[in-house]
Subunit: 316 residues, 2 copies
């Protein structure tokens, strides 16, 4: 049986890493990249990793969709702040009904993709990955790499509804596992996205507002208390949207983070590089979903307002 | 009738200004100062002011209470973070029953003074003053200067209770007015302190966390919304403690601040100078009073936690 073919939109720390791993496992992988296009075409793609470096000398890299052959799966691995810019590309790549995967942070990020890919099954994938892009076509993988995958339901998923794992979810999980990665099927994508927000909402935002690493945030009782309070508000929002998360999960996230190597969050890296912050996907969307369910999350609102101020000033 | 005599503890932007104005109006004023003592003894005290400069060549300045004659009024004008260090001084100065005035920011700042001055009437005074200390014995008055004065009730004031203006309150107001200052008697000191917190809680804290002036905070919709939300939480806390503040007061504070000359808050000046922040008086005390009345103020809690983190790092 032929290996399933992939198009990867975005050649950053996420798309570069997973695309290279899938290519190394024998999948036809076509990258769509702008700024890196010429360099990657000339010099290839390189992932330095403690689990084994991957070097791909001849990369199928494209500026737009017109030269990409039909693929089975389209992975969208751009920052959510760039999603609107790649929608025409996704629409073209998915025209024949390819599975579309939002490999992005935040809540509700599948919706825009589902709109331009009406014939496709749309999946959401969350990456628990520490990696940086250190240069054109050059990714440094530091740690982790697990992916969880669930199917986006066009009806919104319903409150508390569970999904049976679909064939498309299982196929992607299988491809990732054969490429040597940890992967897991989610039976409720929305619940999985809320669980990931339990970490992302406090640490991404506070690392920017307080200009601090995860270790510093855990070391001071004030910031640590605020991290925990923000996590509990995420649980309140999830519960209002019909997704119960065990409060013990908060204690686990705090303990896991304390055990982690000090880590600059992706939002802090974006901020320091003057890039726009993923505020809509990580803050506005969950606040709006909770508000629609009648639940206000005041500490998260306050943090979101602070981040909007800092993001605007940072890009002026 | 002899003019009432004053001791002023603290020769900063507040104590230096009001002490000099009272001295210029003919009151015997004795300053207790540490770092500035020698300079002021040699060179005097100077207030540059748009309303008229004040220069006092021969200042009665003291290192401790032992050389200060008995006075009618003791004004405590140190930062609340320094209160505990001056309590023995206040105890000695008030031993004969002098009126003690907490000319300080925050809630409940009179309590420690009342404890060491059991025979005294204790007043709280709030200063709406823009002034900076620009050098030893040298104050620059920029704008405003109004003082509101109320009596501290040792029984805690009761929820919603009103006080009749007492003789001591009226006497201080009269002295300040004769010195050319705006002054007003408060019938409920606690209500007045909550009203002042409506401004202090958002602007002091956010100016530090977001490294921003009042004009920047008002100019961006995110920070402006957060300022307003914090103000409404102060109203919630005040109401829980029996002090209703009209919601129109929030709109007035926002409009007044927009009309103000851009202003670095006192907390921002303290932070930039590496001095401890007045977090207990301005944040912890109102949070605690509200919590005792069954009311949580989540955005203020979050801001307080952020400030605790930044204050600790700033002084490391």
């Amino acid at each position: 049986m032929a290996q399933r073919s992939y198009a990867v939109v975005g050649l950053g720390a996420v798309g570069g890493f997973y695309g290279a791993e899938l290519a190394a496992a024998g999948h036809p992988v076509h990258f769509i990249a702008r700024s890196d296009h010429d360099h990657v075409q000339r010099c290839g793609l390189r992932v330095d990793s403690p689990t084994g470096d991957v070097v791909i000398d001849r990369v199928s890299v494209h500026r737009d969709a017109s030269s990409v052959p039909a693929v089975d799966v389209v992975i969208v691995a751009v920052k959510t702040t760039d999603t609107s810019g790649v929608l025409p590309l996704v629409e073209a790549l998915a025209a024949e009904g390819a599975t579309v995967v939002a490999m992005q942070n935040g809540l509700g990020v599948e919706e825009a993709l589902a709109t331009v890919a009406p014939r496709s099954t749309v999946l959401g994938a969350m990456c628990f990955l520490c990696s940086n892009k250190v240069g054109p076509g050059h990714i440094r993988h530091l740690d982790y790499g697990r992916v969880t995958v669930g199917e986006h339901r066009r009806d919104g998923g319903g409150r508390g509804a569970s999904l049976v794992g679909t064939a498309e979810v299982e196929a992607l999980v299988e491809d990732l596992r054969r490429a040597g990665l940890e992967a897991e099927a989610l039976y409720d994508l929305v619940a999985g996205r809320w669980r990931k927000l339990v970490w992302n909402i406090p640490y991404n935002g506070l690392s920017v507002v307080l200009d601090a690493g995860t270790d510093e945030l855990m070391a001071h009782p004030g910031s640590r208390r605020l991290v925990a309070a923000l996590m509990h508000e995420v649980l309140d929002g999830a519960a209002a949207c019909g997704r119960q998360i065990d409060p013990a999960f908060v204690a686990k996230m705090l303990a896991d983070t304390e055990a982690m190597t000090p880590y600059a969050t992706s939002m802090k890296l974006d901020f320091d590089a003057g890039r726009p912050l993923e505020l809509d996907a990580i803050y506005a969307a969950p606040l709006s979903a909770a508000a629609q369910a009648g639940c206000r999350l005041p500490r998260i609102e306050a943090l979101h307002d602070q981040l909007r101020f800092l993001d605007a000033r940072n890009r002026r």
